[in-house]
Symmetry: C2
Subunit: 335 residues, 2 copies
């Protein structure tokens, strides 16, 4: 890697340069006993016979932002999908599409950050592939991660388990990720010390698994809280009634939204959980979340009620606002 400091097309051709890139950048940071960069496939011994499987792609711009980068995000996004499904994340496969000319030093930073996030989440990257695309294509780097987890939760979670009067809980403030990425672009001449909330939500998900009334969990990423609420309404035929004053939103996020015309309800978070629990378990769930680091502002934000399948936001002044399904993309490329 010494002589070339930028990615060449030949780094993707299956030959020496590609082998060196994989050994010196990817395997050096991601190494673990299962990762064999010369193997076509890896054998995983799983103690149970049910696995949980998920995949996600990442095209965030800028690639690095306060509180994270595309590498850590690619771990958190997939690990969190397993966590909210009630699984324990174990293994990741990583795909990288790298643009010719990309700085190898920057690639190193991103891979090191990805490796750190994987260690913190307790997952191992056990398979991977890189492709190099010509200069001008590829936006620097795109990543895709696919996760395998062990199903540890006996009761099935799902939107179809949601019943009228079930409570909707949120683990922390919404929209930090969306606005932090937006500010990092510097397009609007705004700046601030807001950091993305991107993080592993496994502690939040696992804190609720013992509750018999746990129905469903999801992380409100692309499309935000409003989109999760719409998915629940559509799947259940229930009205999702949200109480606006209860929904935690940081002042910085609210101020940026006011200035730029965004609605925090549609902005992505990357380290929050929306949970639906039976009414009798709501207090226990909130107490469990508030006891966790970063969980102080966890809140009961609404409930599912009989009525037409729609999402209603009840405002501070007693008004009601229908939250429509997302149409235009408020903030592209935030994950």
């Amino acid at each position: 890697m010494s002589e070339e400091r930028r990615i060449l097309l030949a780094h993707g051709n299956g030959g020496r340069l590609m082998r060196e890139l994989i050994e010196q950048v990817f395997a050096r940071h991601l190494g673990n006993p299962l990762l064999d960069t010369r193997a076509d496939a890896v054998t995983l011994a799983l103690p149970e016979s049910e696995i949980v499987f998920t995949t996600d792609g990442f095209t965030v711009q800028p690639l690095e932002f306060p509180g994270g980068d595309i590498g850590s995000l690619a771990v958190h996004g997939t690990v969190n999908d397993l966590a909210v499904a009630g699984a324990t994340p174990l293994y990741l496969a990583l795909n990288a599409f790298i643009e010719e000319g990309f700085e190898i030093e920057r690639l190193e930073r991103i891979v090191a950050s990805l490796a750190r996030a994987a260690r913190e989440a307790g997952v191992q990257v056990v398979a991977g592939d890189t492709k190099v695309v010509p200069r001008g294509e590829g936006g620097g780097i795109y990543l895709a991660t696919t996760g395998v987890g062990r199903r540890t939760h006996q009761r099935r979670l799902g939107m179809d388990r949601i019943a009228p009067r079930d409570c909707i809980l949120l683990s922390g403030p919404i929209g930090d990720h969306g606005i932090a990425v937006l500010l990092a672009r510097g397009e609007f001449g705004l700046s601030g010390d807001l950091r993305s909330d991107a993080a592993c939500v496994l502690p939040f998900a696992q804190a609720l698994l013992a509750l018999p009334g746990l129905r469903f969990m999801r992380d409100p990423t692309r499309g935000g809280l409003a989109t999760v609420a719409h998915e629940i309404a559509q799947a259940t035929g229930l009205e999702v009634s949200l109480n606006e004053p209860s929904i935690p939103v940081r002042d910085t996020v609210r101020a940026a939204c006011d200035m730029l015309g965004y609605d925090p309800m549609y902005l992505a978070s990357e380290g929050r959980v929306v949970a639906v629990v039976a009414p009798q378990d709501a207090d226990a769930a909130l107490a469990a979340w508030r006891a966790l680091p970063g969980g102080a502002t966890a809140a009961l934000i609404g409930e599912a009620v009989r009525g037409p399948a729609r999402v209603v936001l009840r405002t501070e002044l007693g008004g009601e606002r229908l939250l429509e399904e997302l149409e235009d993309d408020p903030l592209p490329r935030i994950c």
Copy 2:
């Protein structure tokens, strides 16, 4: 999908357009009982406790070529990695990075082809994600697939099991895929009726699994047969001695290579298997392959011998040529 015939950025935002795209294009073609487009993760019940896991990215240009397209290739590439590892492919996760402005009709063709290849290989697409990147980025569409298979083979396969005198077998002609894709680009004013060999190699891999002397299998994709031979030499410390006249190469491929200065040894195949077997099992392996459709030209092409770790090609006239590790990319974007 009626009013918009091209991909918009909003098709990637998590809202209505994305939901419709996923339902009407991806889920319509790929639908199966396990695929829930609204779920974060899928639970897979596997009869055994060992799974085999692999991933691959696809950036082929052009996206459609004689004998295949990026969709079928994304199935074959990953299914074949599981097959040569001695596993039975079961499930795929699919990531799509789609460029804004991409024709939805073309996306449909690609997804339909992917679905057909998956059905033929007996795998189900059970998880997926789409991202839309701005016009000018993304080369139309990139795909990544991650596969899960069941380990059915009791004996472990691996390059470390290869011993001196072991035989190297090849299941069919090399380089068809590389040259078919090259000709499809139309850059050189050449054309021909050569089709890519891209196909599921599961029947070829499974035909050898009963042989006690089976050591190792691999599909010679990026970097071609020469690169597989180099990986064997490096991993074993043995010389890989290949007999050039025994290596099947189609006349069209040889003619194109002669005209354009390519070496078929480095060109990608996407439907061939290289196998290393103990000498006493070579005849049985060849007979099994030749009995399969498309296996008539399967051949014993060389052996592993004591000596420095290198790859030697013995030519028709009794000469020797050292095959170097691939440096320059002869044909970028062929997978």
